[in-house]
Symmetry: C2
Subunit: 343 residues, 2 copies
Amino acid sequence: MSTNLAVIGGDGIGPEVVAEGLKVLSAVLPGVNTTDYDLGARRYHASGEVLPDSVQDELSRHDAILLGAVGDPGVPPGVLERGLLLKLRFAFDHYVNLRPARLYEGVSSPLAGVKPGDIDFVVVREGTEGLYVGAGGVLAKGTPREVATEESLNSRSGVERVIRDAYTRAQSRPRRHLTLVHKQNVLVNAGNLWSRTFAEVGKEFPDVATDYQHVDAASMFFVTQPQRFDVVVTDNLFGDILTDIAAAISGGIGLAASGNINPTKEFPSMFEPVHGSAPDITGQGVADPTATILSVALLLDHLGHADAAARVESAVADDLAAREPGVPVRTSEVGDRIAERVS
Amino acid sequence: MSTNLAVIGGDGIGPEVVAEGLKVLSAVLPGVNTTDYDLGARRYHASGEVLPDSVQDELSRHDAILLGAVGDPGVPPGVLERGLLLKLRFAFDHYVNLRPARLYEGVSSPLAGVKPGDIDFVVVREGTEGLYVGAGGVLAKGTPREVATEESLNSRSGVERVIRDAYTRAQSRPRRHLTLVHKQNVLVNAGNLWSRTFAEVGKEFPDVATDYQHVDAASMFFVTQPQRFDVVVTDNLFGDILTDIAAAISGGIGLAASGNINPTKEFPSMFEPVHGSAPDITGQGVADPTATILSVALLLDHLGHADAAARVESAVADDLAAREPGVPVRTSEVGDRIAERVS
Ligand SMILES: CC(C)[C@H](C(=O)O)[C@@H](O)C(=O)O
Ligand SMILES: CC(C)[C@H](C(=O)O)[C@@H](O)C(=O)O
């Protein structure tokens, strides 16, 4: 049974890095069928379309989606985010937004005195609830009386399933440690739901050690003591912020991978580098495709090819360790080297 | 006209650090009348009281409040936060939550290669709106159908006043730069209100340069390029997270000061170190009172004693620069040294 992959190269450096991801994918798993979808800022400017229903429908019939990056400065804020990225996360019920943070040998962290091995954790960010649901409104817009609201919606089932996923991941890692991050001292309704559910689900995982941190404290500890973390579970917005800090401390968003995962496999999961479309370096062949290649590793793992995933990750680690410090990256050379290592 | 200061030492190391703050205050501004208020975890455990109306009323008749820290692990989450700290911020309309971040000579940052001068910015955090208003609820608590909500409320007037305050602060600083941080690509209602107001108020400050960053990007840049920032204005929750990152990169919460300010002076403003009650080191005389002493500098500045404020800040800078690296701090010695420098 061959794998059908939908590919959304997107804008800016998106198509450039995706090409390298596919190069590595086909080296490690021959026979994947890919279909390209033209979505993002270019299509929006050309036609006003963001995600036609028919395209969403086609996407839903694939095994997985690989996305580069979408967006350019000409698109109003929110249009592609809510109309495309978040629309797919919600439509395909990507309730596990998985973001590993690992400091590889050969990569320098902005943190002083931090060595590879000090940063090796994964953030399980909830992906379908919280402040991302688009609930809220505006009263008397543009007047002195204007009031704007944003609502965070959190359901027991939504919180429970992502917490259980995080415990399961923690259980399979050597340290077996899980940290819940929230702001239960201020957001008492949602915080209580998250904490209570965390404690209850924890009874199924007696071998996983746990702790709780407020989001402000966790943000600080990411910077001062990243060694504290093994698996972190948190809500959608806190996860958005924490995973960018995690990317920053482990070498930058140029290396940060992510998976928008539906563990039930009812709908395709979507894998994408955390970085954006980077219009400033587009077309120069200098974008680092490593984050996309690591996203391909997450994709392989999700589709049941754990061995292939591990080979890609270790090829990336070897490539990073072998890079000459200070020598600029060439996009296609990175892809070639890693594809060769996994072949 | 003498100054009447309400003092809430609070719990844990709170009273210890506040004593040093008062030592410095009386050295630099003789004749301040202080009244102690017994509030915090100890009072809550003893009497169940958090903030009796009569106490709030007395507090309101002071010129300012100095607070150490409140809380201990035995108090349920939210009780003192919402019943005391946030209650005072809201009751006294502390719409400017001011948090300077400066890397002093002699202090080491967890960031590699960052020198004093690289980190010197101030975060103006909104203090009376957003997700901190306590709006939200719970449906079917404890059942599989449970839904918990948290609502962020943002008013034009509330957003406008804090943005204007931030522009004014930016205008008085050498770099004259102001960054708005929000998440306008996802929180489109509130984000649009903040961005629109930021642009409109900006017309009154043509000499202040501005930019906008999403909160996830800003969190990353705090770690990778703190030099980018001069004044940052943001909402209540984003400000909570960003100011802890700011504290982390500039030497830790042991040094981070804050002011909960009502610029109209209709109600007393409240000044407090960002750190908590630190039960683990209570009573040992080893808590660093520097954050409290810097909070006293903010208090002096707010009350119109700009010269005295500058003397305290520069005494702190001198003291930090003169400290022997690796030698543990003695709480009262730090207070003595700084009090002597300002006398
Ligand atoms: C682009 C934006 C909608 C998105 C998010 O906020 O989730 C991005 O920041 C991310 O982390 O994937
Ligand atoms: C204690 C808590 C309510 C408070 C906040 O969230 O504002 C604290 O984290 C702070 O930053 O002053």
